[in-house]
Amino acid sequence: LSAGQPSRKRSHSSGGGSTLLGYIGIDTIIEQMRKKTMKTGFDFNIMVVGPSGLGKSTLVNTLFKSQVSRKSAGWSRDEKIPKTVEIKSVSHVIEEGGVKMKLTVVDTPGFGDQINNDNCWEPISKYINEQFEKFLKEEVNITRKKRIPDTRVHCCVYFIPPTGHSLRQLDVEFMKRLSHSVNIIPVIAKSDTMTVEERQEFKQRVRKELEMNGIEFYPQKEFDDDIEDKSDNDKIREMMPFAVVGSDKEYQVNGKRVLGRKTPWGIIEVENPNHCEFAQLRDFLIRSHLQDLKEVTHNIHYETYRAKRLNDNGGLHPITSNDTQESNL
């Protein structure tokens, strides 16, 4: 080959890489990974937190376009609001394009519903740590399972009531305490109660308050890998918290069937970016950062928990359950 002539040999590389003398096929590894992932499927655990009636279940159902979360009708006549926050988790397997996902939605009924909500975040914090502990126990086993079942909470969507003023004390307390153990994604619920200007002002105020209180929501600035990540994530951080509207009903608008809410003064289209930011939330959460959420949970939150456990006890307690042997850490 003379220097000036382009290679005549068949090359599968895309620009650059013209130094290859032949095609090796390294890039097919992506295809292999994809195939494997499709076969094994993957887990995703999402937690929703917020006072009753903010549309948490509706939003999750809208996000994943299936009835994965049972809508509550509020506390019925004979039901009493639980004295402490309950943790209810429900799993479904959903499939799209050959890819299987085991989606677990963790609901937290009772959060913020009482008159006295002191420490209502404790059961949630406990649950998150318990999942870390479960994973840790599996990891330190001598004979480990091939694929450790992952019940760790990958993402916690926190629903901010659209008061239009600012964050409430409860919001600040919760997010402050939990932003170090889980990825928190704050959203403004039922945002169809605010006009566009009100929404912008509210978001600005909320962002300022989050900053003032040192609350790092996902995507956290400190975990940006490189410049590209940072610039992508900066754009997203500017838009957060996303102001969303959820719906599982369809209406006819301009000849198309869209998800929306029908009011006497117009139809609010859930997926219309001029109406609300649901589409941006969905793209962010599912289409671009789903895997990253899992990675940050595993590499950072879980590792923090693990390090703390190892330091605190000067090593892990030996595992005493019947089907595993003692760890020799």
């Binding site: 008061t163 308050e209 003064w265 139809i267």
Partner: protein
């Protein structure tokens, strides 16, 4: 015809019996049917006062609604607090007073605001400052009423409390129930569904049904519209029925004017449409305003005076008498508040008024006699 002119015409007819009409022959007209007009004239001169309390969490649109109802801007220089600043805040009571005049009628409107209510993490008894305030006003009125110079008693009693229920929930929350139960025997409570433009008509209906059910279930006594008189016309009765079935009112407030259907109206502009505050198919704002101001303002005051205040007074007296009995003093059915002895000036005034009343009575008797004689 103007009420005053009518009255004067009638008096003329009474005193000049020669000008008799056929109608007068039929009716033995005395003339006190003009009394409502006289009351009207005196009241217009004196002016009215009304104290309205608004309660509910921050961000329910209370201030906007008040401004919309009374077409004022009471909260111009308000500074919104952020979460940090609100940490140590207890529930405050803030009064705004504004004088409104319309067609010669003066209204001194006092709005009692309750910032901080329900905003903390722990809201136990957050309604206590509010119940204390209401009791204080009753107590002050009680003292003034039992005092001697009752000419210029200031009535600061709370005539009505608008309670804002968030539209986001599924019905009443524990804090809503506890608040209303603590206050339903002290003040007229009108529950409202706030920010109703985030609900579809179906959702509003479900929520209203749910709230009405829960109000029944928990035995909360909200303000009841008085029954229609049987001699009112059908249209009025129908309107009244619709009003009662519409509670709790689902309201929206706005101070901005938007262009809708070719008109300038008060409303909220969304990307998907315009919500008009005064459009009855959009929300119940008009119903609330009509009820609060145009038809039931007086009844609200009456119920406050006749029911809530009297309850307080009776309770107060009972406590006082039982205390007296405990102190082994003579039990008296009438409360003996420390009254100061009347001074000479006041005594003279009282005598003068007595004499004036006597004179007026004599004049009335003379007129009646005259008429009676003429008709003989």
């Amino acid at each position: 015809m103007d009420a005053i002119m009518l009255q004067e015409k009638l008096v003329e007819r009474l005193l000049c019996p020669r000008v008799r009409t056929a109608r007068q022959k039929e009716k033995q007209y005395v003339g006190f049917a003009t009394l409502p007009n006289q009351v009207h004239r005196k009241s217009v001169k004196k002016g009215f006062d009304f104290t309205l309390m608004v309660a509910g969490e921050s961000g329910m649109g209370k201030s906007t609604l008040v401004n919309s109802l009374f077409l004022t801007d009471l909260y111009k220089d308000r500074k919104l607090l952020n979460a940090e600043e609100r940490i140590n805040q207890t529930v405050e009571i803030i009064k705004h007073t504004v004088d409104i005049e319309e067609k010669g009628v003066k209204l001194k409107l006092t709005i009692v605001d309750t910032p901080g209510f329900g905003d903390a993490v722990n809201n136990n008894e957050c309604w206590k400052p509010i119940t204390d305030y209401i009791d204080q006003q009753f107590e002050q009125y009680f003292r003034d009423e039992s005092g001697l110079n009752r000419k210029n008693i200031q009535d600061n009693r709370v005539h009505c409390c608008l309670y804002f229920i968030p539209p986001f929930g599924h019905g009443l929350r524990p804090v809503d129930v506890e608040f209303m139960k603590a206050l339903h025997e002290k003040v007229n409570i009108i529950p409202l569904i706030a920010k109703a433009d985030c609900l579809t008509p179906n959702e509003i209906k479900k929520l209203k049904d749910r709230i009405r059910e829960e109000i029944d279930k928990f035995g909360i006594k909200v303000y009841q519209f008085p029954e229609c008189d049987s001699d009112e016309d059908e249209e009025f009765k129908q309107l009244d029925k619709e009003l009662k079935e519409c509670t709790p009112f689902a309201v929206i407030g706005s101070n901005t004017v938007v262009e809708a259907r070719g008109q300038r109206v008060r409303g909220r502009l969304y990307p998907w449409g315009i919500v008009e505050v005064e459009n009855q198919s959009h929300c119940d704002f008009v119903k609330l305003r009509n009820m609060l101001i145009r038809s039931h303002m007086h009844d609200l005051k009456d119920v406050t005076c006749d029911v809530h205040y009297e309850n307080y007074r009776a309770q107060c007296i009972q406590e006082m008498t039982s205390k007296l009995a405990q102190d082994n003093r003579m039990e008296s059915p009438i409360p003996i508040l420390p009254l100061s002895t009347p001074d000479a000036d006041t005594e003279k005034l009282i005598k003068m008024k007595d004499e004036e009343l006597k004179r007026m009575q004599e004049m009335l008797n003379k007129m009646q006699q005259q008429m009676h004689d003429k008709d003989q």
